[in-house]
Structure formats: C-alpha cells, structure tokens
C-alpha cells in the first residue's frame, strides 16, 4: 500500500516535471498576444494567423476553431469505430439464441460502452466538429468568442473517453477494475450496487464530457450572440447556426443537471449517501433526473443534424429552403418542449396516471415541429433540380429514416402503446432509426459536403455512393428487423433469447436477429469503405481548382462558408502550387462543370451519372 503510494507519487512528480518541460519548451517560440476579454479581436481575418508550431505540437496547442473542429472530428470518428466494434461483437453474439461467443457480463459491458460511446463520445463531438469549424465562418466571426475555453473543452474529451473505457483496458491486468455493466442509462439501484471501481471511473469520465459539452455550449451562445459579422443578424442567420444556438441552450440546462446527478450517484456509491436508495430519495429519482437530462439530450443530438440537412439539402435542390422561418421557429419550439416530455421514458414505472397523461400530451405536441421540418424538406426538393451527390443522398436518406424513426416515436409517446412495447426491441429500432439513420447520416452528408473545404481536395465519388447505399440498406435491414422483433415481444438488453416457444415464436425471433446481424455487418463494411475514402482522398484526392466544387454559384447558393473558402484560395494561390503531390498530374476535379448541373466527376461517377442526367434533362 505504502509502496504503491510512493510509486504513484514518483510517477506524479515525473508527470509534473514533464509538463513543466513541455511548457518551457513552448516558451521558446511562443509570443504573447494578451487579449482583453479573451476574444480574438483584430481585422486581420483568417489570413492573419499568428504562427503555429510544426508537427504534432501544433495540434496540442491550437486554439484555432478550425483545428479544434478537425480534432473533434477525428476524436468522434475514433469513438465511432470503438462503438461500432462493440456493437458488431454484440450482434455476432445475438446471431444465435445461446451464449456462443461471450458471457453475459461481457455483453453487458459492450452494451454499456456502445451506448455511452455513441451518444457522448461520437454524437456530441461530431456535431461539435462541424459547429467549431463552420459556425464562425457562417456568421462571419474571426474565431469563437473564447478560443482557449474552446480548446479546454476539447481536451477534456480524450481523458473522458479513456476513463469511460477504462475497464476494458484494466480488466486483463487483474486489478479488479472491470468495465461498467450499467447500461447507458445507469439506472439505480443497479448502478449504485455494482462494487466495481470501473463504474466510478466511467461516471467520472462522463462527468468530464459533460463539463466539456457545457463549456462548448457557453462558447457557442456567446459566439453567436456577440461575434456575428456586421452583415449577419437574426433575420439572415443561417439555419445551422440557429440549430446550434438552440442545442447550446439545451446543453446549458441539461448537462449541468447530468453532472449533478452523476456526482450524487458517485456519492451514493462511495460515501454512503442515500439519494437514490430505496430508503432515501428512491431509485425513481434517478430516472427523473436522468431523463430530465436525457430527453433534451435526444434533441441536443438531433437538432444540429436537422440544421445540417436544412443547410445542405437546398444546395442540391437548386432552390432555397422552403419555409425557412418555419424551420427556425419549430427548432425553437422543439427546444422548449423537449424539457416537458422526460417522463415518457417512465410510463411503466408506476408514476401517477394524471402526470403520465400530461407527459403524453406534451410528447404528442412535440411531434408537430418535427413533422413541419420533414414537410419543409420534402417541399424544398419538390420540383427542384436535384443533384444526387453523396451529401444529397445522405440528406435524402436522413429524411427517409426520420419518417420511420419519427413515426414509431409518436406511437411510443402514446401511453397504451408504450405499455405494450416498452423495453422491447421496438424501442431499440425506433431510436436507432434516429441516431444512426438521422444523426450519423447527416454527419456523413456534412463530412462529404465540407470535405473540399477542410482538405482542399475532393473525395472519391464512387466510394462515397457505395458508402451511402450500403449504409442505407444496412440501416433499414437492421433496424426494421428490430421493430418487428419488438412486435414479437423480444426484450431489450439481453445477451440470449432462449425462451419457451409458447411465449414467442423462437424460430422467427432467431431469423430476425440474424437479419439484424447481417444488416449490422453491412453497415460496418460501409464504414470501412468510408474510412478508406476519407484517408486516401485526404492525402491523394484531386485538388480543387476553384472554390466552388458543388457549382453552387449557378443557383445563387454559394454559402458564406464557401465564400470564405474562396478568399482563402485566392489568398493562398502561389504557395499552393509549390507543394508536390503524388498525383499532381492527374485530372483536376469537376468535369461536371461544363454541364453546370452535374457536379459529379465523370471519372468516378459510374452508374449514377445517368440518373443525374435524366433529372437534368427534364
């Protein structure tokens, strides 16, 4: 014991000395720009960078919103693959009814890790990636209002992820720290009674990510309110900024509550308090606190993707977003109403039927603003000049998946239906249509849409379309099978399903599980294609020869972020050509320019080119 403490003390000392060394080394090149008010004031614009150190150090010290956006993106994608690997293992286990490739404990660990990773370490950060990179560009700001806080918010995430995943790393070492098996909802008394310190580490990590999200939200609110350019005001603020503003307000009210509830749970676990004990505050208190955070969290995750689609979809429809202000006001309405629906997750907990009915009423009301957006998107495409590029395909897939995911949600909001379907795979299918079918799809669409700005290159279009179609097919196979499984009564969160054939048709359930597993592996394969495309295109993709890879100028849709990109490209001309590229001699992008409408590169557009042409010929 004493030896351990001494060793740790020595290690801590070495760590501190290393940090001091790092700081001292940075001192050699750094020059100060003390800024009153912490904001980046200056008319130098984006060309006026103070210098950045070379190599990896640049990424550790940057406070540039674009660099931080890239860091968020890379972080989120690492988490996406972690969560994806976890779920593929789970789906493999579920391909047959018995325990075949893992035990229940490991399944539960994967289940917990998958949920928390996808929601907190992928969903929130991938949105932050886009908002960090593009909000300042879209509103004409020099940078975020608080660039350093922005960087702190990002750097809290990697330690958060390490703590959340800690049990997986320490379990093989035999320290008695195993992965948490609490499920992502961390319901008490289960989570309060698991003695495993891995749960404490996970809760601490989650707390850090909550602090991070809150810092980011404060930053975005301040930025959108105070850093807008002269020409941008509430009347012409873009839709993505509106959704980020609403999301940040939701974070501001929801995440501190999660942080407090987590601390209460940690105190219950370690210091014998009784917040969530049966003889104390009751386990239901946890559910109330958790879902008062948790339901706004759903909208925290889904509003910005809705904003992304509202921003990108019109660009490839050749017309402005139909009913722009409807979308803005319904976004705000969702933001408010989302705080009045939390107990619809708790209909079957035995809360008072009168209170339950009220939550049903508000839950049904919140369906309207979401439906309004759907109709606006469809109407935007109506009679438009559709160009089926990869970002557009993901947007359309998003709408399609939202119709299924959203309407299944309306059924679940009705108490009588919910009491039948609660805790079945129907719920799992419903929310996966939302989180995978919408949030991830919009993220992918935005990644493709803005890939040219971030990298100065074009991705490989054929691979991107393969990615889309495999994702779309895989998503619908997997999650539709889950909806049907729910109707058959398959309960959630089980590693096995060897039940009596009198309860439910085991053969059909097994088949549906196998279908879902096949779909999951199709999704997984699609993401591998996508990862290859991103990495290879980043290094070797054809460089852009102008700042309008999507031919947006033709439709008068050249957005502010691409306007910024154009100034950058003009400013950087000359320096750029000196760089040696492996494929420097290759054809430049955008053979479609001649036709004006077809943005796809003929070389890689493959079979889809025809379809695009046909639309154009109309």
């Amino acid at each position: 014991m004493v030896g351990e403490q001494l060793a740790l003390t020595a290690l801590m000392g070495v760590f501190l000395v290393a940090v001091a060394g790092f700081l001292a080394r940075m001192e050699d090149w750094r020059s100060y720009t003390p800024l009153a008010g912490g904001s980046a004031i200056g008319d130098a614009g984006y060309g006026g960078h103070a210098e950045k150190p070379a190599g990896i150090v640049r990424w550790f010290t940057t406070v540039d919103h674009k660099d931080i956006g890239i860091l968020y993106g890379i972080y989120a994608l690492i988490a996406f693959f972690w969560g994806g690997a976890a779920v593929l293992l789970m789906r493999a286990e579920l391909a047959a009814p018995g325990f075949d490739i893992m035990q229940a404990q490991f399944y539960n660990s994967l289940l917990t890790s998958h949920g928390i990773t996808m929601l907190f370490l992928f969903g929130t950060p991938i949105i932050a990636a886009f908002s960090n990179y593009f909000i300042p560009l879209l509103i004409g700001a020099d940078d975020m209002a608080f660039p350093r806080i922005n960087a702190i918010a990002f750097w809290l995430l990697p330690p958060g992820a390490i703590l959340i995943w800690a049990g997986f790393f320490t379990a093989p070492l035999g320290l008695g720290i195993d992965p948490a098996q609490t499920s992502w909802t961390m319901y008490t008394p289960l989570s309060a009674e698991q003695a495993n310190p891995g749960v404490d580490l996970m809760l601490l990590g989650l707390h850090l990510t909550g602090v991070s999200a809150t810092m980011g939200a404060i930053n975005f609110i301040a930025t959108i309110f105070t850093e807008r350019g002269d020409e941008v005001n509430w009347a012409n603020l873009d839709i993505f900024s509106w959704t980020i503003l609403t999301q940040s307000a939701l974070i501001l009210f929801a995440f501190p509550l999660l942080g407090s509830a987590l601390i209460m749970l940690l105190l219950d676990r370690n210091f014998s308090t009784a917040f969530f004990a049966v003889e104390g505050g009751s386990p239901i208190l946890w559910q109330h606190l958790f879902w008062f955070f948790g339901h706004p969290e759903v909208y925290i995750l889904v509003l910005p993707p809705m904003g992304l689609v509202s921003w990108i979809l019109p660009k490839f429809s050749g017309r402005k977003l139909f009913g722009f202000k409807f979308v803005v006001y319904s976004t705000l309405a969702i933001g408010v109403l989302s705080f009045g629906v939390w107990a619809h997750h708790m209909f079957s907990t035995g809360i008072d039927p009168r209170i339950r009915a009220s939550f049903m009423a508000v839950s049904l009301a919140i369906a309207i603003p979401s439906a309004v957006k759907t109709f606006n998107w469809i109407t935007t495409m109506w009679n438009g000049n559709l160009r089926l590029t990869a970002p557009m395909l993901f947007c359309i897939g998003f709408i399609s998946n939202f119709v299924i995911g959203g309407i299944t949600g309306v059924f679940l909001a009705a108490i009588p239906v919910d009491l039948v379907l609660h805790d079945t795979y129907y719920v799992v299918g419903h929310f996966h249509y939302i989180v995978m079918g919408m949030i991830a799809f919009a993220g992918m669409g935005a990644l493709y849409y803005w890939f040219p700005i971030v990298t100065g290159r074009m991705y490989q279009r054929r691979l991107a379309k393969m990615h889309f179609w495999l994702s779309m097919i895989g998503t619908n196979i997997t999650f539709f099978a889950m909806l049907v499984l729910g109707y058959l009564g398959m309960p959630r969160r089980y590693a096995t399903y060897q039940f009596d054939g009198a309860i439910a048709p085991l053969a059909q359930v097994t088949t549906l599980h196998q279908i879902a597993t096949v779909g999951a592996f199709i999704i997984g394969f699609a993401q591998l294609i996508w990862a290859w495309n991103m990495v290879q295109s980043w290094y070797e993709g054809p460089e852009l020869d102008d700042a309008d890879p999507w031919n947006l100028k033709d439709d008068g849709m050249f957005g502010r972020e691409f306007q910024w990109f154009e100034t950058q490209k003009l400013a950087a001309d000359g320096g750029e050509s000196e760089e040696v590229r492996a494929d420097g001699g290759e054809v430049e992008t955008d053979g479609g320019e001649a036709t004006g409408r077809v943005s796809s590169d003929p070389r890689s557009d493959g079979g889809y080119r025809k379809a695009v042409r046909r639309v154009d010929d109309e």
């Binding site: 403490q5 740790l8 290690l11 801590m12 000392g13 501190l16 940090v19 001091a20 790092f22 700081l23 001292a24 001192e27 750094r30 020059s31 100060y32 720009t33 003390p34 800024l35 009153a36 912490g38 980046a40 200056g42 130098a44 006026g48 960078h49 103070a50 210098e51 950045k52 150190p53 070379a54 190599g55 990896i56 990424w59 010290t61 940057t62 406070v63 540039d64 674009k66 660099d67 890239i70 020099d142 660039p147 350093r148 806080i149 922005n150 960087a151 702190i152 809290l156 330690p159 958060g160 703590l163 580490l201 601490l204 602090v211 971030v454 990298t455 100065g456 400013a571 950087a572 320096g575």
Partner: protein, 159 residues
C-alpha cells in the same frame, strides 16, 4: 517564427501559406492561434478529479497543483491578470480552506480527533488532507517563485 509546414500531419492547402516575414513581425495584430495552457488545464482537472474522488492521494495533490498553476497561467495569458503567481497563491489558499472544510465535516477540528481519523484511514479526512496539501504546495510554491522574480510577463517560464 519561420517554421515550415512540411512535416505538418495535415496536408491542408490554403491554411499553410508560407509565413511572410512581414506577417511574422506583425503577428501581434492577429488573433492568437495557439496556447499551451488548455491541454494542461484539462489534464489538471482530470487528474485531480480522479485523484480526489478515487482517493489516490498522489494524483489528487499533483493534479490539483497542476490545475491551479494552469488556471493561473491561462488567465494570465488571456490578459485577465497581470500577476499569475498571486492568483496561483490565492487559489492555493482556497484549496486549503476547502480541504479544511472537508475534514471538518467528519471530525471536530482538534488535534486528537483528527489524528485518530487519519490513523483510522478515514477516507474523507484523508481526501481533505490531500486537498490541503495541494493548496499548501500551490500557495508556498507561488510565494517562493513570486519572491524570486516580480512575476512579470518577461520572466519567462511559465509566466
């Protein structure tokens, strides 16, 4: 600073324009795009949270010291304070107060009960002492460094 961007991991094309000498000398006009402190603040917060909560005392002391120092550093860098060591010292005093409060929630603040609690390895009392210890390290360290120089910007590391 005439660093080249050739070993930059990201081959971004427009951002890595060659730094002209004119710009380098005039960099004070542009917004700061780098800071060493955010990473350190995040590490300090993480290590101290894990250390204090899990009762790993070396981590608690080291993490809190790191956190206090980096908060002072980043506040100074952002121009909110001209005297970072004074802020670090003040935060150290706050930590001492918090630690004493933690101890006082468990035992009366007198020698015998406190010694008994430490002897009995009372978790909260020991955590309180780790916070007190971190506060003392920060306060004394800040006082010593401050006495060695005037804590001005030009003092160099870590300013």
């Amino acid at each position: 600073m005439d660093e080249t961007t050739s070993d930059d991991p990201s081959p971004r094309t427009w951002d890595d324009e060659p730094e002209s000498p004119a710009r380098t000398s005039a960099e004070e006009e542009g917004p700061t795009r780098t800071s060493v402190w955010p990473l350190v603040v995040a590490m300090g917060l993480t290590v101290s949270e894990v250390g204090v909560f899990m009762g790993v005392y070396p981590l608690a002391v080291g993490g809190l010291v790191l956190f206090v120092a980096s908060v002072a550093g980043i506040t100074h860098e952002a121009g909110y304070t001209g005297r970072p060591w004074r802020l670090a010292g003040a935060l150290g005093v706050v930590l001492v107060a918090v630690g004493v409060w933690m101890v006082s929630t468990q035992v009366p603040l007198a020698v015998d009960p406190v010694v008994a609690a430490v002897g009995g390895a009372d978790g909260i009392v020991l955590r309180g002492f780790s916070v007190v210890g971190a506060g003392l390290v920060a306060a004394v360290g800040a006082a010593v460094v401050s006495a060695m120089g005037d804590g001005d910007v030009d003092d160099g590391f870590p300013a």
